[in-house]
């Protein structure tokens, strides 16, 4: 029995002071309802993907399920930092495969900007291993900066190549009405931005955002009744790696991504060359370069060359993040993985408008949690 995505929804990402967590969830849930032509009574459960430490409301599935009109069906939270959304999809998939439910809605949601700046700065100091690393003042950009520095040393990757990833993200973000930043940027602007954690600069970093995204999953026979354009989940793998960079063998790659990708390709019976379009976790520009390599779109160390040659633009070897990526869309932690899946579904349905990859049949999502302690890779087919 296969599992398909039969409905998608996506809120506007950005600063969303106008809405509560549950109101923001409603925006994507409603879109997914209308997209699939399902109603609450047709859905057996909701799984919420989110990182709880950003919210004032404790245990958010309660208020969300109530607001969505999804009582008395089961609901609960999955957490895997920035991978929480994909963790929720993997949980929903498992619930259907196990025969517990037939149709499950997944809502990825985050309001990151309801915290004050001091609260955000305090959280920022606790992203890594708080016993051995945080006491020295390492930050989230700091970790990726450590990866970037080593990648540059090993393979000659340049700051200009990193900046080109940001330029591409904003190029496509300008075509995405749901993106936080819908403006193109120049290479000079990216390279001239202020340092955050050397060698990473402001334009190497994605922005915290508020937003939600929703997908509805259904078992095979029902999926064919619900829609003429089901998108099938053919691979849905996950892996983990040490959170402490000091306990990792390599810091020029995300080991969990390499393992999850191999497993997802195996599940789907395809390889990297078969992927027509991909949405990858570009929380920092170096993360996208490593994703190219870790997913097998090029050899380890050749990610910089891939962006130099514009092979990850539409028309290139493998278009990546043609929705603007985390960089231009904004990164509402729990919503990000689900947002990726909605973009690939759009691409495979042929509904992506100006940023459509012609004839896309197989797509991939790559959603990294934290600094790679979690990774999720999906392979979707139309």
């Amino acid at each position: 029995m296969k599992v398909a995505i039969v409905g998608i929804g996506h809120s506007k990402f950005g600063r969303r002071d106008d809405a509560t967590v549950q109101e923001l969830s409603w925006e994507s849930f409603k879109e997914a309802m209308l997209d699939s032509d399902l109603r609450q009574k047709d859905i057996d459960a909701t799984v919420i993907g989110s990182s709880p430490e950003y919210h004032k409301q404790r245990s958010i599935p309660g208020v969300i399920a109530e607001y969505l009109g999804m009582n008395s069906q089961p609901t609960y939270l999955t957490e895997a930092a920035c991978g929480s959304g994909s963790a929720a999809i993997r949980t929903a998939y498992s619930l259907i495969k196990a025969g517990l439910h037939d149709v499950v809605a997944v809502v990825g949601i985050q309001k990151m900007l309801e915290l004050s700046t001091p609260e955000i700065l305090a959280l920022m100091g606790r992203v890594g291993d708080v016993q051995w690393e945080s006491g020295f003042g390492i930050t989230f950009p700091g970790y990726y900066a450590l990866f970037a520095r080593r990648h540059m040393h090993n393979y000659g990757t340049t700051e200009e190549q990193l900046a080109k990833v940001a330029v591409k993200a904003h190029h496509y973000g300008a075509m995405n009405p749901k993106a936080m930043f819908q403006k193109e940027i120049t290479l000079e602007k990216a390279l001239g931005s202020r340092p955050v954690a050397s060698p990473l600069k402001l334009f190497d970093c994605c922005a915290n955002a508020d937003g939600s995204a929703c997908v509805i999953l259904a078992k095979e026979d029902l999926a064919r009744k619900i829609t003429d354009t089901p998108v099938w989940i053919e691979g849905i793998a996950s892996a983990s790696a040490p959170i402490s960079v000091i306990r990792r063998e390599y810091v020029d790659r995300i080991p969990s991504a390499i393992i999850a990708a191999k497993e997802a390709y195996k599940q789907a019976g395809v390889g990297p060359d078969d992927i027509d379009v991909a949405d990858v976790h570009d929380c920092f520009t170096i993360a996208e370069i490593m994703a190219y390599e870790n997913l097998g779109f090029c050899e380890i160390g050749e990610g910089g060359k891939l962006i130099d040659e514009e092979q990850t633009y539409i028309g290139g070897k493998i278009p990546v993040n043609v929705d603007g990526g985390l960089k231009a869309k904004g990164h509402p932690v729990g919503a990000t993985g689900v947002s990726m899946t909605t973009e690939i579904v759009k691409q495979l349905r042929g509904d992506a408008g100006k940023r459509q990859v012609d004839g896309a049949e197989i797509g991939l999502t790559h959603n990294v949690g934290g600094i790679g302690q979690y990774c999720f890779v999906q392979i979707l087919k139309r």
């Binding site: 100091g125 945080s134 006491g135 003042g137 950009p141 040393h153």
Partner: protein
Amino acid sequence: MMFEKFGKISYVPNSKVAKFVEYLEEGKLTGTKCRKCGTLYVPPKADCVECLDDDMEWVELSGDCTLHTYTTIHASPAGFEDIAPYTLLVVDVKEGGRVMTWAEGIPEDELEIGMDLKLRVKTLDDGKLVYVAEKP
């Protein structure tokens, strides 16, 4: 609550390896070694994941290390504003393992991946303990 003396900001009040901080007070850098299978843990761990044993002995480290990677933090988290920008290093410890630390007296443009460095214990103004890496 010995462990809270470690780090500029400490998020961890105590740990089974709090003796590590007692050794820092004596100016010693240490790791743990499993008496059963010999696996070395730097930083120390109380439990051996290889053989499930918890009979660990403390091993003093030379402080010799090489630079694995580095960054200078300009946008600092809460509690580090007064020292920003500061340069963080990840170093490969000669005896095995890796630690995160600060560069002491080495400007970022003099850092080179692979260079030899020496770790030593440093007491901060408020009495907190850390280790830093300097040129040997």
